[in-house]
Symmetry: C2
Subunit: 407 residues, 2 copies
């Protein structure tokens, strides 16, 4: 059966983010979701009554002790009896929700999709218990049993990277300095701070080579994005004609062995993220990206630990393996540099409420492409293409999404 079909495309109509903070004691996850959703509805000029489908993004039942929280958020914002789906991929969950909006709209199951995500990391459990919960996101049969925990996995990777390529602790400290600084111009950020490389180097050693200021914190918060076809947007979005047109042009997802010891040497071993290479290759192919460093104007990069951002630069194709530290020193990724990264502050400066994080990255790319960011964190005029890198486990789960300005 062959039919003449209009080629569908998926557009980003608006976004919203709640305040990210260490321990939000005002309300609970459903209230933070409302904050983000209301901002996204206003930004997109749409009404919840018109939106056809939702996707929920949150990481784990363990933090909030509310199972089926996705259905509760969907109910709470007034979406019943319409369809919902919750997606999850560890730290890559928010990126997956964006990918899911692409899949469901392109499939024809809906013409409009609201995605919202949150995590309650700080309030209900003490931080050592939260760290234990996060450890359960590695292999509980083979890694946790031998006392594995997240910063140790990432420290091991970074020690290997330092040995193999000569990457220096000071270079990844620069990631922390940049991201905390960018967060100063993001009013929603959890951890804005004006610090120096020396401050990072002198902060408390957690697991060599990572010091306290190399790491993101546990944050509370929520984020939301609204997607639709052009036809739907023309009919239901009061801001469609008034704001720049932003299209979701590429999405990719890649995975890797859970257990680090399973990752094949020499390629890519534990110094690189195979899943991220796979995900970015898929997304770049869809969007026609040939030279990522030149073809993107901004990029939100996963930086749960400062070194992860450097390794990600290499796996995202911004430079060759081992060269990221040097480029970081040269200011390539600073505001005003060739490719500003984590203008929002990233996970380190903005925060990391897991289910919200990837969606918040998307909102930042939207703001940048529309030239709506705070002047002190806004990238150059005429930014046309932005990317985001959402990452779970020890790079076990990677999702890359690409947004482009179309006018």
């Amino acid at each position: 059966m062959e039919v003449l079909e209009k080629k569908r495309r998926v557009f980003v109509l608006g976004g919203g983010i709640s305040k990210f903070a260490a321990e939000r004691t005002d309300g609970n996850m459903r209230d933070w979701i409302n904050e983000a959703v209301l901002e996204a509805l206003e930004d997109s000029g749409t009404r919840i009554e018109d939106i056809e489908h939702s996707t929920t993004s949150y990481f784990s039942d363990h933090f909030d002790k509310q199972l089926k929280a996705g259905a509760i958020f969907h109910d709470n914002i007034g979406m019943c009896p319409k369809p919902n789906v919750r997606v999850e991929g560890g730290g890559g969950t928010g990126g997956l929700a964006i990918r899911n909006a692409y899949a469901y709209i392109m499939s024809g199951l809906c013409d409009s999709m609201i995605i919202f995500g949150a995590e309650n990391m700080g309030r209900q459990v003490p931080s050592d218990v939260a760290q234990q919960f996060i450890a359960l996101a590695s292999d509980t049969d083979w890694e946790v049993q031998v006392a594995g925990f997240y910063i140790a996995y990432y420290a091991m990777m970074m020690v290997s990277h330092m040995e193999k390529y000569g990457t220096k602790e000071e270079q990844f400290a620069m990631v922390s300095v940049k991201n905390h600084r960018n967060a100063m111009y993001n009013p929603k950020a959890h951890y804005p701070m004006d610090i120096t490389v020396e401050d990072v180097m002198n902060s408390k050693m957690i697991t060599y080579p990572y010091k306290l200021l190399d790491n993101c914190l546990l944050s509370d918060g929520a984020a939301c994005l609204i997607f639709a076809t052009e036809e739907w947007a023309k009919k239901h979005s009061a801001t469609w004609e008034k704001k720049p047109t932003i299209e979701l042009t590429g999405t990719g997802c890649g995975t890797d062995f859970m257990r680090m010891a399973d990752r094949p040497f020499p390629y890519p071993g534990i110094t690189h993220f195979r899943g991220k290479r796979e995900a970015s290759a898929q997304a770049y192919k869809m969007a026609g990206v040939k030279d990522p460093l030149k073809d993107f104007d901004c990029f939100e990069v996963h930086d749960a630990y400062s070194g992860v951002e450097l390794v990600s630069y290499e796996d995202l194709g911004f430079c060759k393996p081992g060269e990221s530290g040097k480029l970081m020193e040269q200011g390539v990724f600073d505001l005003g540099g060739e490719l500003p990264t984590n203008t929002s502050g990233g996970l380190i400066g903005f925060g990391h409420p897991v289910g919200a994080t990837g969606i918040a990255q998307g909102v930042e790319v939207l703001r940048q492409l529309r030239q709506e960011a705070h002047p002190k964190r806004q990238v150059e005029l005429n930014a046309k293409r932005g990317g985001m890198d959402s990452h779970g486990g020890t790079g076990t789960f990677c999702v890359i999404n690409i947004f482009e300005r179309r006018d």
Copy 2:
């Protein structure tokens, strides 16, 4: 931009199910997933190396204490570095995974999708703790705080149904008798049993009107299905030409308020599942179903509690509200009746390892349409269309999928 595109369609190439049991002490979830996946690969004549994408289905982190279990299953069956997504919608999770296969394949993100689901309900936690975990799948701020738990919610609904329509306890006991009996011819079933209405009526009262034998048990187990486009199947499935062609022709998802007290009177109030009416309307429209009782040849219906199956008959449009008990008495839903339901044994007879359940329903429909079921549970020759009803919360989340035989 208008382009000439081939209309995509999604086919069901094969399925597999592990043994369902109360407490499987052989291996863990990843082993049961392997059991189901190996059966599905053999059934579909495909190789894991060729399949492009996976979807994982499981309900809650709480039971297995393994976060990101979806990524582990995906790794364990040899799918890395390819893309994965985990979906969740409470008891509707397995149905959502099938819907997700439809969305991702139709979107063009992939041409083939393996979905697998499991739950570890019995082994790691005592049953009273498991019941507490399940209670966390209702609204923890508004329902659990007033001592709400699942059988009580469903008992309240059924008391209302009995008062409103005169439905009798004996009528829903018949559901239990039918489903335990059908399970006797399903070698994977957790709870096959030849019992009478009197046995159900005389079993221990749990929460009026539900007695022990009205309820499903907590099961361990896994299930798997493989979907693809026709083009992919022709290239990669050794059994494509040999087995009947089964297409996924409809999918729908509907939701309802989490909190029962929010559900509007008089329509549909708490005696019916608004989400199921919504989901079935969507799926029936897609598949061109006009008269569900006549248009389906078999249907797997959510029966976590016997009365839910009766109410579902009404919301699925098999009869008018209040008439399901009478039709049950008349044998309409028995093997040999007009529309045999839960030929697998359903949740009551087959079992309910949550993440596997909806997928197992799909496998049963596949077996029935291919005439591959055990002769004593096989529906009439020439069955052409089967449905499945996957349901979470107190009908908070409903997913309907429709499979059709195409030759």
